[in-house]
């Protein structure tokens, strides 16, 4: 069964919130479930949601439906896929839940009727809201329940006549219930015979009152007679001013007052009903309606018609609101409702005017008409005829359509439609041999995107006359009228041969391809000269060619058209260079490039034919030298090396990051021959060296590489001594926290370190790292104080070590006096007592600096400092530098 969107909108979306929790209803599922129908219907319902949501219609309802759809998707997908079990179980579960809910609603309705058998529409609506149901659903439950839906009667609030107000007290004195008892019995505590009708009371005219006055006049003078005369006087005044209706109203007011008084004692409906019938003698039918009205009486209650108008206006249902207001009897509407009615009527008239305008311009400006309908729907949601009018608004057609065959398919393009309203989408169809007549005539080609203005037809019929038609429709109105069809000029799809490839040999070129079965033949020409080459349907062999010459081939497929004429395609152009078979590389050598760390250079004798390429492998190559194979196999199994020619004729390249095998391969065309190979190992550099002098030895530290290097080789050469070397293992280095090299302090030192490894019994060295240490000579000194107080002198004696180099000099030697708690750390921290400038320190020979002791009170420190010449002074025992 096809999805009926109008019905869906009417039954589901127009129902509004809350949405019924019923799968069959939400998705318009058929009674007899099949996988295909479930898939089709659910997809149509979701598309309907998307369309209407994009037009901002039924947004709250659709939002709720979509939210529930997320949870239901697995069940629906399973059903669409053929597994209807979960969906049936879900429906059965929902049916059971609905039955339970229905029973609960019935009980609620009976409770709300309160034993009176009457229910107000407002109470029904409240019940529906409270139980997440709809008023219509509850109305359906009322059938057969004995409950009638009725608006409560409007009851008077004020006494009918001011003169009648004291009557109630007089009737109490007379022990009477109401005026009917008074008029009919004329005895204290009397009760009228028949039931009293509230809504159709007996006519009470002057005669009845006179008769009652006469009867009560027989009472002896006293309180009873006085009370009776008061009642008669009041009745006569009401009759005189308001007539019999006024007296009837007085009787109704008495009855109503009695019930209202009883209601204030929180009596229930049945209790009030019993009081009305048994206590007041009311007719049971009237009593039921009166009690119902009393129970629904509210001093501030809004007029029901006004409330309904407001509800409909808030929902945008202006047509229904105006109709409701018109149905109300004239003069019964409160002023506020009348104002609202007039306002809604004016709005509705404006909407109708817009609809008429849209109808007028729909042929000339359908987009403007569409937007007018949008404006109408924004204001009036239930204006009839709007959807029909929308469906009759086709968008403008596309201005032009083109089709270009490119050998692999046909590229169809079109200029976008000028229409913008309603989300225009395109429908493309293809016909063979004739133009399409309608938008559904031919094979439909889905566009890649809704707003696309081109598509590729990847698989059109070959060698057939093709027409492409493009129509436009509005996605917002799927049942709307499409635009006029625009058709492309006819084209042919004639593909080229596929999989074509040339293979060059020595003086020969062969080709292979796959020819389309619709092609009649293949035509090949060779450049230069455009020489025809005999070719079959699958390839050719061209012989007698010169090696090392480039030949161009044009391969064209030939088709025979419907008119019998032959037509050739543009053709493929391929080039091949015949060449002699490659010769293998004989002896390959690889060594480090001097002066370029991390670079290697390969040398080999140039082969007679072919180009040499270098490849890297992790292990020995799987092919022996001289083995011939397609070069593609080599490239798949090995890493190509980016090698560049060097000045010495070799090929230079960046060293690999570890052990590898360099393989020389000679390539000619697609053929390759394996040559010699050599293993290589590139050791990393050691980075920056840090060397620190430590009293006759140097502590060397370096960043030991993380991998590959287990041993390093050190070379150092103190000035004037032969160079020395030492091999250090990683374990030695880490164990001793660096390398300690014996080195005299007095000589400058240059240290070189490099990684060492052995590959195939060959010793491989990494790039060297060097550090240079300037000479440093520790010179001891002493400080003594001699002489008597007043003529005391301070003498510093400096002695260079005997092994210090001759000609050792210091730029400045200064004796400093410091007064702080600690000795001076720098010359600037104290007072210079004396200094020597540009002083020579011969090995083993003392040099003196003698000054007069300062006249200083308190203790102080003495300390010598040297600057320049690599001289570092070694302090004597600290206590000898302290003067107390």
């Amino acid at each position: 069964m096809a999805f009926d969107e109008q019905r869906y909108r009417r039954e589901v979306l127009d129902a509004g919130l809350p949405v019924r929790d019923n799968l069959r209803w939400r998705y318009q599922l058929p009674e007899r479930l099949t996988a295909e129908e479930v898939a089709t219907t659910v997809a149509a319902v979701r598309a309907c949601w998307a369309r209407l949501y994009s037009r901002l219609k039924y947004k709250p309802v659709i939002t709720e439906l979509r939210a529930a759809d997320v949870a239901l998707r697995p069940v629906l997908d399973a059903a669409a896929g053929g597994d209807l079990g979960p969906l049936r179980a879900e429906l059965a579960s929902q049916d059971s839940a609905e039955n339970t809910a229905r029973a609960r609603l019935r009980a609620a309705l009976e409770q709300a009727a309160d034993g009176l058998g009457l229910l107000a529409p407002a109470a029904l609506a409240e019940l529906a809201r409270a139980h997440d149901s709809t008023p219509d659903a509850l109305r359906a439950l009322l059938d057969g329940s004995g409950i009638t839906l009725a608006e409560p009667e409007t009851l008077p609030v004020e006494p009918p006549h001011p003169a009648y107000a004291p009557v109630a007290r007089q009737l109490e004195i007379l022990k009477l219930r109401h005026l009917a008892d008074f008029l009919e019995t004329a005895t204290t505590g009397g009760r009228c015979a028949g039931p009293v009708r509230y809504f159709a009371p007996p006519r009470t005219d002057t005669a009845v009152v006179d008769r009652a006055a006469h009867a009560w006049g027989r009472q002896p003078h006293g309180a009873v007679l006085t009370a009776a005369e008061t009642v008669v006087a009041a009745a006569r005044q009401v009759l005189r001013e308001q007539g019999p209706d006024g007296l009837a109203a007085a009787l109704r007011y008495e009855l109503l007052t009695a019930l209202r008084r009883r209601r204030t004692s929180r009596s229930t409906g049945p209790e009030l009903l019993g009081h009305a019938v048994d206590g007041l003698g009311l007719d049971r039918g009237d009593a039921r309606r009166l009690v119902f009205a009393v129970l629904h009486e509210h001093p501030d209650r809004e007029d029901p018609v006004l409330a309904e108008l407001r509800r409909l206006a808030a929902a945008g249902r202006l047509t229904a609101a105006v109709e409701t207001a018109r149905r109300a009897p004239a003069g019964t509407l409160p002023p506020e409702a009348e104002q609202l009615r007039d306002h809604l009527g004016a709005e509705l008239d404006r909407a109708l005017a817009k609809r008429r305008q849209a109808e007028r311009i729909r042929g000339t400006d359908p987009d403007r008409a569409w937007y007018l309908l949008d404006e109408i729907e924004a204001a009036v949601k239930d204006l009839p005829g709007v959807d029909d009018l929308r469906r009759a608004l086709p968008p403008h057609p596309v201005p032009s359509v083109t089709a270009h065959p490119d050998g692999a398919g046909v590229l169809v393009g079109w200029r976008p439609t000028p229409s913008t309203a309603g989300e225009p989408v395109y429908r493309i169809v293809r016909t063979v041999g004739r133009p399409p007549r309608t938008e559904r005539d031919g094979t439909e080609l889905p566009p890649p995107a809704p707003g696309a203005d081109s598509l590729r037809d990847p698989d059109p019929p070959v060698n057939a006359l093709l027409h492409y038609g493009v129509s436009v429709r509005r996605a917002a109105e799927p049942n709307g009228q499409p635009s006029r069809l625009a058709v492309s000029p006819p084209v042919f799809h004639r593909p080229e041969v596929s999989g074509a490839g040339l293979r060059a040999g020595s003086g020969v070129v062969t080709a292979r391809w796959s020819c389309p079965p619709e092609a009649e033949s293949v035509q090949v020409t060779r450049d230069p000269g455009g020489v025809p080459v005999p070719a079959g349907r699958d390839g050719f062999t061209d012989t007698g060619l010169s090696n090392a010459t480039a030949y161009g081939y044009r391969i064209r497929a030939v088709y025979r058209g419907p008119d019998g004429a032959r037509a050739a395609t543009a053709g493929l152009r391929l080039t091949a260079v015949p060449s002699a078979p490659p010769s293998p590389v004989g002896a390959l050598t690889v060594r480090a490039q001097p002066g370029q760390p991390g670079r290697l250079v390969a040398h080999f004798a140039r082969p007679r034919s072919g180009t040499v390429e270098l490849y890297l492998l992790d292990r020995e190559p799987p092919w022996p030298a001289g083995h011939r194979l397609p070069v593609a196999r080599v490239r798949a199994a090995a890493r190509s090396v980016d090698a560049r020619p060097e000045r010495d004729g070799g090929l230079g390249f960046t060293a690999p990051g570890g052990r590898a095998v360099v393989l020389a391969v000679t390539v000619a065309g697609e053929d390759a021959v394996i040559g010699d190979h050599q293993p290589v190992l590139a050791l990393p550099g050691l980075g920056r060296l840090t060397a620190t002098r430590r009293s006759g030895e140097v502590l060397l530290a370096l960043d030991w590489p993380a991998h590959e290097v287990d041993t390093i080789e050190l070379g150092w050469s103190p000035a004037g001594e032969p160079p020395r070397t030492q091999v250090v293992t990683r374990g030695d280095y880490l164990h001793h926290g660096g390398v300690r090299l014996p080195a005299p302090d007095g000589r400058a030192l240059r240290i070189e370190a490099r990684a060492v490894a052995t590959v195939d019994r060959r010793r491989v060295l990494g790039p060297p790292s060097t550090v240079e240490l300037p000479a440093r000579i520790d010179v001891d000194y002493t400080v003594t104080r001699t002489g008597l107080p007043g003529r005391r002198r301070i003498t510093a004696v400096l002695t260079a070590p005997p092994d210090a180099p001759a000609g050792l000099r210091a730029d400045r030697i200064v004796l400093v006096l410091g007064t702080g708690p600690g000795w001076p750390l720098r010359p600037e921290e104290g007072t210079a007592l004396g200094e020597l400038r540009d002083v020579e320190l011969p090995p083993g020979t003392p040099v003196e600096l003698s000054v007069a002791a300062p006249a200083h009170r308190g203790g102080y420190w003495l300390r010598c400092f040297a600057t320049g010449g690599g001289v570092v002074l070694r302090d004597p025992a600290a206590r000898t530098l302290k003067v107390k």
Binding site: R694, A701, L702, L734, H736, G737, P821, F865, A877, A878
Partner: protein, 371 residues
């Protein structure tokens, strides 16, 4: 000068013990759950097992049940406590010092370092040796939740044994080194010092590490003003001195006589600002001797440096409260680690053994000499 013979303290739980507070344990594992071996003479150094008949000298502390070093009661251990604020490098100091004592420095001093029990072996290898020297990572910050009752929080107990010349020829001297790697946060407040650093009271000497980055005048990588619970080095120094003054009952007109080695760690971070002629840049004079001149030079240099680093309050406080203290500058790793990884150049300690050399000399195990 050897300290006056005094109490014997369990190196595991730091409770004072006598022979009566110990019990023997049979070397046979099957006998350990039964009746312990008992000697007739309570001061005997061995006892026979009633179950298997083997004679054992394994003696356990009756309080904590841990194994005492062999002959410990006869030659009580010298307890060296290690104190320092968080991140001052206590764990790294222990790890590298033990390694040095077992290799370079131990060979130079002709000293043998022997772990007291399996716990010490396992704990050092798992917590220090493997991390520092195999995985080349820094020792992770000590967990404050560990206490001395958990395996990882127990002290490392070593016996350092070396030969020295006496009046009547060579003799062996043994020093028991006890390192408790307490988390630095334990010294963060007076309450924590009282509760968690109880073993300070029983220490025969103290090595107190100061983080130079806590000194305002230094310009370490982390800069001044670190905010770590436990406070700066100077605060910890004050708390520890206050605590020791109290437990040793030092009179107001007296000073604390406990030897205290105050070591400024991470010296490698400071070397760029230190002149070439500074003794801090020199290696300790080689040889199995205590060079008093070098010691005095380093101490004097550091006193001056503390003024330069605006930490003269440290030296003043030590002057006023301590009768026997020395300043040291040490570097455990030789260079700053790169995150958790030790510099690829390896561990190159600098003067890390200086405090121990001084303490060995104080305890009469190392002669004075001059290079």
């Amino acid at each position: 000068m050897r300290p006056v013979a005094r109490k014997c303290v369990c190196p595991h739980c730091f409770r004072r013990i006598t022979h009566a507070d110990t019990r023997f344990e049979c070397a046979t594992p099957a006998c350990r759950g039964g009746e312990p071996p008992v000697a007739t003479d309570p001061r005997a150094d061995r006892a026979g097992c009633g179950s298997c008949g083997r004679v054992t000298s394994r003696r356990l502390c009756a309080h904590c049940g841990d194994l005492l070093p062999s002959g410990y009661l006869e030659q009580p251990g010298t307890l060296v406590a290690l104190v320092g604020p968080p991140n001052s490098g206590k764990s790294t100091y222990i790890g590298v010092l033990v390694h040095e004592l077992r290799h370079g420095v131990g060979k130079e001093l002709d000293a043998a370092l022997q772990p007291c029990d399996d716990n010490t072996v396992i704990q050092y290898e798992e917590g220090y040796g493997r991390v520092l020297f195999d995985e080349h990572r820094t020792v992770r910050k000590t967990d404050t939740r560990l206490n001395r009752h958990s395996v990882a929080g127990r002290p490392l107990v070593y016996q350092l044994k070396r030969r020295r010349r006496g009046l009547f020829g060579q003799k062996h001297a043994t020093l028991t080194l006890v390192f408790l790697d307490a988390a630095g946060e334990h010294y963060g407040s007076d309450d924590q010092v009282e509760r968690e650093a109880r073993y300070l009271a029983e220490a025969d000497a103290l090595v107190l590490l100061l983080d130079p980055q806590d000194l305002p005048g230094t310009a370490g990588p982390a800069g001044p003003g670190r905010a770590v619970s436990g406070g700066a080095s100077t605060d910890v120094l004050s708390r520890v001195l206050r605590h020791l003054t109290a437990v040793h009952d030092v009179k107001p007109n007296r000073k604390l006589r406990l030897p205290i080695a105050v070591a400024i760690t991470k010296l490698d971070l400071l070397l760029t600002g230190i002149e070439d002629n500074s003794p801090l840049r020199r290696e300790r004079p080689a040889g199995a001797r205590f060079d008093a001149d070098d010691r005095e030079a380093v101490h004097t240099e550091l006193r001056a440096r503390l003024d330069q680093w605006q930490a003269d309050g440290v030296s003043r406080e030590l002057d006023h409260y301590c009768a026997d203290y020395q300043l040291f500058g040490i570097s455990m790793l030789g260079t700053a680690p790169r995150g958790e990884a030790i510099d690829p150049g390896g561990i190159r300690p600098h003067r890390i053994e200086d405090p121990l050399i001084w303490l060995l000399h104080k305890f009469g195990m190392l002669d004075r000499g001059k290079g």
